[in-house]
């Protein structure tokens, strides 16, 4: 039982990172109806920025905010250079564009920086544990969960209380009518990409701390987790994205620890099988996106 609780906390830590990634995917899907397969590249680019900063002697305290800033800027640049040009194209074209960005960013790092993995040091406290009664938990997981909770609360405030949040929700519900009301479509879309970039940046800090390295293909894994979690939760639903991320994280950790012997190595396969089952019984994901749920 103790082990299971530890697993769940560990899973929530991992799932929090997925939740932040998925929330970014859901925000973009809400306004543009675009499933952004380039989302992981925000972590690739900020990973290289982190590597460059470490090489000049920066510490994690300076690198962490840098990762967020680089992620936001990368998100805005990708919107400006690529997505803004296909805004009125079919969803298929937009989808292919996002794939194109994903491959292009990887290829550019291979060409101009090198295909080898660049390593940097993890923070010294990454493996520290603390005891809560009989349960031993990693400090890292607690930090991730706490930061995610604060980030989600801030996101709710932005969406509910600010004019930008209101415009984003209106645009997600009915883009044309929002424009008719005077909502500046460029500004809302840029804002959505900035928000999505900030969320990916916060997730990216923890992702990079844990990984301790970056490589041209580093974006694939976070992209898959983010997109999958958003799909599990019900595309377009922000609450669903968070729920999907947490569920994915907990499922991964619990299965890896509870599956017998060699089967534990098949965790990813089992997770995908579970997701397939979920979509057979609930094709819309965990949360049904009624109009009211969208962004």
């Amino acid at each position: 039982m103790t082990e299971l609780i530890q697993n769940v906390i560990d899973g929530l830590g991992r799932g929090s990172i997925y939740a932040l990634l998925a929330l970014g995917v859901a925000v973009i899907f809400g306004v543009m109806h675009l499933l952004n397969f380039a989302h992981g590249e925000l972590i690739t680019v900020s990973g290289y920025a982190a590597y460059a900063a470490f090489s000049t002697g920066w510490s994690w305290y300076l690198v962490a905010p840098l990762v967020i800033v680089v992620s936001i800027l990368t998100s805005l640049v990708i919107e400006r250079v690529a997505f803004s040009r296909v805004r009125n194209a079919s969803s298929f074209t937009q989808l292919l564009t996002s794939f194109g960005i994903h491959f292009l960013v990887s290829a550019m790092f291979v060409m101009y920086v090198g295909a080898r993995v660049k390593t940097f040091s993890e923070p010294s406290w990454i493996s520290d544990t603390t005891a809560i009664g009989p349960i031993t938990v990693e400090v890292f997981d607690l930090v991730v969960i706490a930061v995610t909770a604060v980030t989600l609360a801030a996101t709710v405030v932005i969406l509910q209380k600010t004019m930008f949040g209101l415009a984003l929700r209106a645009a997600a519900a009915d883009f044309d009518t929002a424009r008719l009301m005077g909502v500046d479509s460029d500004r809302v879309i840029r804002g959505a990409f900035a928000l999505s970039g900030a969320l990916a940046g916060i997730a990216g800090i923890f992702w990079l701390m844990r990984a301790g390295n970056t490589a041209p293909s580093s974006g694939i894994d976070p992209m898959l987790k983010g997109v999958l979690a958003a799909l599990i939760g019900g595309l377009g639903s922000l609450r669903g994205a968070v729920l999907g991320g947490l569920a994915l994280g907990v499922a991964e950790v619990v299965l890896r620890s509870q599956l017998p012997g060699t089967a534990a190595a098949l965790t990813d396969g089992v997770v995908f099988a579970l997701i397939a089952l979920l979509f057979i019984f609930r094709p819309q994901g965990l949360i049904t996106v009624s109009h009211a749920e969208r962004v």
């Binding site: 004019m163 209101l166 415009a167 929700r169 209106a170 519900a173 009915d174 044309d176 009518t177 929002a178 424009r179 008719l180 009301m181 005077g182 909502v183 500046d184 479509s185 009624s290 109009h291 009211a292 749920e293 969208r294």
Partner: protein
């Protein structure tokens, strides 16, 4: 003239939904736009408001050319549209719908405008924090109009405000149009209910198959027997 439309042509693919349409609206006027289904009335409002791009012709507003400007620019210029089928944001509350309507006005003026709307539309005041999806058809139409008024438009365009409403609510909508007229607001209203529209309009245009076939004062047009099918709302 406040709004001057000259020779406007709008096409869907190769089909012209509007052909060489000209009309004008003066400050403080209530102008009706009537005609049967498919006459191009909604296309005309959409082309003025920037939702559709006209292929020919010009739109001038307060003396400036605004042809083909994006809807948000048109709104900032002072031209608001209450769209067909109301298109309120059903998942936002009544108050949030109104705040979105006021997105272009300075923040400091928004609270005052909200108070003004609460006074003008008492039915909305009681449902301030209700999601707009729970409103009845009549309430939703009033919200759509209030939302457009939040931008303090110089010209308010309405597309079929009485469409789909029970007769008693149709009265509410026309009473509201009269009230707005009495406040001195400038309105351009598309209506299928031609008889009622001609009663409240200073002037009106009759649109058929994408062209203006008649124009004149409400009383003039009502006496024109050749336009009878237009008044009973017959389809093309």
């Amino acid at each position: 003239m406040l709004l001057e439309v000259n020779g406007l042509t709008t096409k869907y693919g190769s089909i012209s939904a509007l052909r060489d349409v000209s009309l004008s609206v003066g400050a403080g006027e209530v102008v009706g736009l009537i005609g049967p289904n498919g006459a191009g009335k909604t296309t005309l409002l959409g082309s003025i408001a920037g939702l559709l791009s006209p292929s020919d012709g010009s739109v001038e507003f307060e003396g400036n050319s605004v042809t083909g400007h994006a809807p948000d620019k048109m709104l900032k210029a002072g031209l608001a549209l209450v769209p067909e089928h109301r298109r309120i944001f059903v998942d936002l509350t009544v108050a949030e719908n109104l705040r979105i309507g006021g997105v272009t006005v300075p923040k400091s003026d928004r609270a005052g405008l909200l108070d003004e709307m609460a006074e003008l539309f008492p039915v909305l005041r009681d449902k301030w924090d209700t999601p707009a999806g729970f409103l009845s058809g009549g309430e939703a139409q009033q919200l759509a109009i209030a939302r457009a008024l939040m931008s303090r438009p110089t010209l308010l365009m309405m597309d079929e405000p009485s469409l789909g409403l029970a007769p008693v609510l149709v009265d509410v909508v026309f009473d509201l149009i009269e009230h707005l007229r009495d406040q001195g607001r400038t309105l351009l209203v598309v209506e299928q209910n031609a008889t009622r529209m001609l009663e409240v309009a200073d002037r009106a245009y009759v649109l058929r198959s994408g062209s203006v076939v008649a124009e004149g004062s409400g009383a003039d047009l009502r006496s024109r027997s050749d336009l009878f099918d237009t008044f009973v709302g017959g389809a093309e």
